[in-house]
Symmetry: C2
C-alpha cells in the first residue's frame, strides 16, 4: 500500500498565507474586485443576491495572449465574444462576474458588450481590448445596470500585489480560492481558477486566468496552452457535465525575457495540473480525490476516455465515497465504455490495481478477505475529513491504475475525479437559492 | 400545467394483490424460488449472506425463444453462455440467482455450467437447454456448492400459478417486485424484471424474463424483441452505467395460436415499456421519474442520445431532486452532448418545456418569477413521498419536452430517468454490505 500522506495546512489562515506568498502578480499586471447586490428578474427573492465583479488588467496592451473555450454547443455570450477576441491584435484584460453565467438570454451579447463599453470608457481603452467572462446560473439575465454602476469603483481599486483577491472574486460554490504559480527564467507564471461542480472534459463551469511576464510569440503560447489544457483542465471530471462557459485565458506582459518553449510548457503544465487537482479537491461535496492512471491504451484519447469512464461512473464514485472497495465496478465501467465505443478489450491482458494492490489480472479478479480489509482501510485513510472544506487538508488521492495491455499500447493518460457524495447532491439540488 | 395524477395503490398489500391478478403464467410455464445462505470467499462477514435461486421452466422444450444482452465488453459468465444458447435448437428454461453476478472470476463459466449440469440431471433435460442468469456483485465467485445443494428443492417446488414469486426472487436492491402482462389473441404475455441502480442504455444490471403462449416463428420473435428492447429497456437510464449482466430473454410455449406480428409487437411493447418505467420508479433513491421526450432530431439515435444526455446529467437530476427548476442545465446538457458529438444545433429553432410550460424558445430562455413558482410547484407535486418505496405510489413523471427543430427532423424518442438523490448515493455507497 502507498504511504505518502502530505499534510498541507492546519487552518484556512495558514492556507491563505501560503497563497499570498505564492500569489505575487507578474510584472505589468493589476487586479481588483468589488461586491454588489441585485434582484434577479427570473426568481422572486426576499433579499438581493450578492455578486462579485473582478478585473484583471495589464498596464499595457499585449498581443501575446490566447484562450481555450468550452465545446458546449450552447455557449454563453462571453464565450461567443471571447472567440472573436482571439482575432484582436491586442488585449488589455478580463472583466469577470460570478452568480450569473449570461447564457442564452435575449440580450446576452448586448449585455456583455455594454459592460465592456463602460469599462473601456472608464479605463481609456477600447471595448475590444477586453474579454468578458461570466459564471453562475444559466438562463438568467445579467444585472447590467447594477454592474455598470460599479465599474468606476472597480477600476479605481486596481492594484498590483497578489492575485489572491482575484482567486476569491471569481469563486461560486468553491469553498477556498485556488491560485498556483511557478518561477520560470527571470519571470513567473501565476494563475487562478474557479470551478466546483460540473467540472468535466472541456473544463465545465471552469474559469482559469493565467498571467505571465515571460516574452513569447503569440502562436507559440497558443499552441502550448492547447496542449497543456488537454492534459490538465480537460483531464479532470467531477460529474460528466461540461458547462456553457468554460474558459482558460493566458496573457503575457512580456516584461521578462524569453525562455525555451519546453521550459515554459513544463512550468505551465505544472501550474495548470496543480490548479486542476485543486478544483477537483474543492468540488462540491468531494470526499476522496480519485486519480485514474490508464496505460497501455492504443492512444491518448482512448486512455483519457477510459479514465473518465471510471471516474465518471456514479457507481464507482459512490462506492469510493462509502469506502467500499467494490472493484467489480471498475472493470464494469471500462467494459461499458468499450462496448459503447466498439473498442476491443483483451481481458487477459488487463490489469487493475487500487492503492497499488492488484485487484484484477489475467482475466479474473484477485480478491480475498485480507485484501478487502486492506482496501477498506486504504479508502478510509484517503478521505477529506470535513464536509465543508475551507482549505485543502492534504494531498491524498485514491489511486486507480489500469493497464489495458493493448498491443499498440503507447497511450497513457491520468484523469482526476471526485467521489459522488451526499454533499454533491445537496449542493446541486438547490444551487440557486 | 398538467394534471393527471394517478393514484395507484394505497399499500404494498394492494399492489401485491394486483400483481397476483395480472401475473397468471401463460400456459406451459412453471416457476419456483428457494432461499439459501453462503459465506463469500472475498469478504469477511459475520453472518452468512442471503441468496435467492429462481427457476423458470417450460413443460416442453421450445424452439421459439430469443435474447438480448448487454454490450458491456466485460460480460458475466451467464451472458457468455447465453449468447451461445441462441444457437441451440430448443431450450427449456432459465435458472437465476441474485447477490453475485458471476463476472470475471477464474472459474466463472465453469461455475455456471456446473449449475446447469446439476439442474439438467434433476430435471431430466440437457444442460444446454437452460440459460443461466446472475445479478449482483461483480468480481465475486458463485457459491456453487451451496447452490447445487438447493437444486433438488428448487426443482420440486416448480408450480404453475403466477410469476410473482419469480418477480420477487430476482430482486436485488429493488424494493418491490415488477411484473406486467397483456392479453393478446387467445393467450398472453407475462414478464418480470429486476433492476434498480445502474440502469442504462443497454439495460444495465437489468434482467427481464418474458413468457408467452402465443405461437410465433423464432426469427420473427427475435426481430420483434430487438426492436422493442431499443425503445423500452434501452431507453431508460438511471445512472449512465451499463452492467456486465443485462439480459432480456423471451420464450414461448406456443400453446396458443398465432396473432399478427403487429398485434404481438404492440402488446410486447406495452409490457416492456411499463416494466421499464417500473424499474426507473423503483431505482435506488428515486424521488422523481423524469420523462424526456425529444422530437425534431435528425434520427431516432440522436433523439434518444439527447434524451439520455438530459436525464443522465447529474446536474439536471440533482436539481429536479431538489425541486429546483434550474432549467439552464437542460439546455447545457443538450449543448454538451452536441459539442462532444459534432452535432450542429440551431438554437433559434430549439424549444424546451418543463411540465408543459415553455422555458426556452427562439434562442432565449423564457423565464419570469411567476413561472418559476409554477415550476417549483410542479416539481414538488411529482415526487414520490416515501424514501424507501415498497410499492409504486403513483404514475407521475416530470415531463421535459424538447423539440430540436432540425431540418431533417423526423427522429423522436422518449427516455425515462430518475432524479439523483441522497438515497441513490447512500444505497450505492455500500451496496455490498
Amino acid at each position: 500500500m502507498e504511504k505518502n500522506k502530505l499534510e498541507l495546512y492546519n487552518s484556512k489562515e495558514e492556507y491563505l498565507k501560503d497563497l499570498e506568498k505564492r500569489g505575487k502578480l507578474p510584472e505589468g499586471f493589476k487586479t481588483s474586485v468589488v461586491s454588489l447586490e441585485f434582484f434577479p428578474a427570473e426568481r422572486p427573492v426576499e433579499k438581493p443576491l450578492p455578486m462579485k465583479l473582478s478585473l484583471l488588467m495589464l498596464d499595457k496592451p499585449t498581443s501575446v495572449f490566447g484562450a481555450v473555450f468550452t465545446r458546449n454547443k450552447c455557449p454563453g455570450a462571453p464565450v461567443i465574444i471571447g472567440k472573436e477576441r482571439l482575432l484582436s491584435d491586442k488585449v488589455r484584460g478580463v472583466i469577470i462576474n460570478n452568480k450569473i453565467s449570461n447564457v442564452c438570454t435575449e440580450t446576452g451579447v448586448k449585455d456583455s458588450n455594454m459592460l465592456l463599453e463602460h469599462l473601456a470608457k472608464e479605463t481609456g481603452c477600447l471595448p475590444q481590448e477586453f474579454f468578458p467572462s461570466s459564471t453562475g446560473i444559466i438562463g438568467w439575465q445579467l444585472p447590467v445596470k447594477d454592474m455598470v454602476q460599479n465599474i468606476p469603483r472597480l477600476v479605481s481599486a486596481l492594484a498590483p500585489g497578489t492575485g489572491v483577491n482575484l482567486a476569491e472574486g471569481i469563486m461560486t460554490t468553491d469553498t477556498f480560492p485556488k491560485l498556483r504559480s511557478a518561477e520560470v527564467g527571470d519571470g513567473c507564471i501565476v494563475a487562478v481558477a474557479k470551478g466546483a461542480g460540473m467540472i468535466e472534459p472541456n473544463m465545465a463551469t471552469m474559469l482559469s486566468f493565467i498571467m505571465t511576464d515571460i516574452s513569447m510569440e503569440r502562436d507559440i503560447i497558443r499552441d502550448i496552452l492547447k496542449r497543456v489544457v488537454e492534459k490538465t483542465y480537460n483531464s479532470i471530471s467531477v460529474d460528466g457535465d461540461q458547462s456553457t462557459s468554460d474558459t482558460v485565458i493566458i496573457m503575457s506582459s512580456c516584461e521578462k525575457k524569453k525562455v525555451s518553449e519546453k521550459e515554459f510548457e513544463d512550468a505551465l503544465y505544472k501550474v495548470c495540473l496543480d490548479l486542476s487537482v485543486d478544483i477537483v479537491r474543492n468540488s462540491e461535496g468531494c470526499g476522496h480525490v480519485v486519480k485514474a492512471s490508464v496505460t497501455g491504451a492504443s492512444d491518448f484519447e482512448t486512455a483519457r476516455n477510459i479514465g473518465k469512464a471510471i471516474v465518471n461512473s456514479p457507481l464507482v464514485s459512490t462506492a469510493i465515497f462509502g469506502n467500499d472497495p467494490n472493484v467489480g465496478r471498475l472493470l464494469s465501467s471500462i467494459g461499458d465504455y468499450a462496448g459503447n465505443n466498439n473498442i476491443e478489450l483483451n481481458k487477459d491482458k488487463i490489469s487493475i490495481s487500487l492503492g497499488g494492490d492488484i485487484v484484477f489480472e489475467k482475466g479474473a479478479f484477485r480478491l480475498d478477505q485480507e485484501k478487502e480489509l486492506r482496501l477498506v482501510h486504504y479508502l478510509k485513510s484517503r478521505v477529506l475529513d470535513s464536509d465543508h472544506k475551507t482549505f485543502p487538508e492534504h494531498n491524498y488521492t485514491v489511486n486507480i491504475d489500469v493497464n489495458l495491455g493493448m498491443s499498440s499500447g503507447n497511450g497513457n493518460a491520468t484523469v482526476f475525479g471526485s467521489d459522488l457524495s451526499y454533499g454533491y447532491v445537496r449542493e446541486n439540488a438547490d444551487y440557486r437559492s
